[in-house]
């Protein structure tokens, strides 16, 4: 017969036939149909694979615990039972910890304290300044002495002014007055 003159199927072709004989080229399918040797090879390989499955089934243990169908859960799980909840919780806790660490380490709290102290000092300085102005108002030189004081006559010396208008020795200066009143820590 003509099929005996054709070469037999090689191992890969036999394998392809075992997978699906219809995938073989037409001439090989015909040869396989007519050749006893090639058909026996294919069946031997199929038998070996079938035996593999049976042996695996025989050597596998039998299961002792039967499947039990418990009450079906409702489709609407509480939000804290969803699989996403642990991940979200972890993310929130991590973010809270980061914010807490940043809050305690940033200079915001110290700068607040500094600004309060600075404000107090400025208020005290403003009050002191206003007091100086008030004192000057009370102890202003009258207009008639402006001429005598020499401010409008740059050519007059200080000795002449001292002769004309002697200084009052016991009158305290402004700083001597304010020293007792204001004490800034």
């Amino acid at each position: 017969m003509t099929h005996e003159k054709e070469p037999h199927l090689n191992e890969k072709e036999i394998t392809r036939a075992v997978v699906d004989e219809a995938d073989l080229p037409a001439h090989l399918q015909k040869h396989l149909f007519l050749c006893d040797f090639c058909r026996a090879e294919k069946e031997r390989f199929e038998k070996q694979l079938s035996q593999l499955g049976r042996m695996a089934e025989r050597l596998a243990p039998s299961h002792r615990r039967r499947v039990t169908l418990t009450a079906q859960r409702t489709s609407r799980n509480p939000w804290f039972r969803t699989w996403r909840f642990p991940g979200l919780l972890t993310a929130c806790v991590s973010a809270a910890m980061v914010i807490a660490v940043m809050w305690w380490t940033t200079p915001l709290t110290t700068s607040l304290e500094d600004s309060q102290a600075r404000l107090i000092r400025e208020i005290l300085q403003d009050e002191q300044f206003l007091s100086e102005i008030s004192w000057l108002e009370e102890h202003a030189i009258s207009l008639i002495y402006f001429d005598i004081s020499g401010e409008s006559m740059p050519g007059i010396s200080e000795e002449f002014m001292e002769f004309v208008i002697p200084a009052i020795q016991n009158e305290p200066t402004y700083h001597e007055m304010t020293k007792e009143v204001y004490y800034v820590a």
Partner: protein, 208 residues
Amino acid sequence: MDQNTQEPHTGTPAGRSHVAYLADCARAGDRSCFEQLVGMFQEEIFRMAFYRTGSRMDAEDLTQDTFMKALKSLPRLKDTSRFRSWLFSIGVNRVRDFHKKKRILVFFGVKAEGKELQPDDRQPSENPNPLTDLIKQEFWGHMQCLANELSRMEREVFLLRFLDQLSIKEIAQALNRSESAVKTHLYRSLNKFRDNPGLARVLQGENQ
């Protein structure tokens, strides 16, 4: 043997329609129909999980998970004639999630790394015959060697075809792949199987 359409466990077309009928009833809310489906398929799903984990306890847990997931997702199954491949699809995904979790635990040093296809030696043997235990050990050892040589898809297709006895069409549905892709992976896995003399020796010894 028609490799594309035969369903060895459901047998004749009448058997296939019975599964579809039960699935239709279960989808409508009949709990007893689903329990019948559980009775029909729990051995297969258990073995499927055992082949991929090597542990009976894990396989039992995964079987329970698979059927609970199937019960919950049954309303979404549109074609009940594909129930078997759909169930295997759930089971394969559950096993995949199990291995992902196991890899994370191994990475953090919580769990020791183990081999998938080699059964847990700590489990007491069911058969007191030491020869059977030896054959079992040798068989699963060679299966593990073969599994190590196969890629993930080749291994999955090989196990589904020759250990779980699914047809190529069912495998394609379960893995959401085309039939030609399944055949390609099957062809490559068979070539590697041929190159594994240990398994052939075990199978030959079984014949004698």
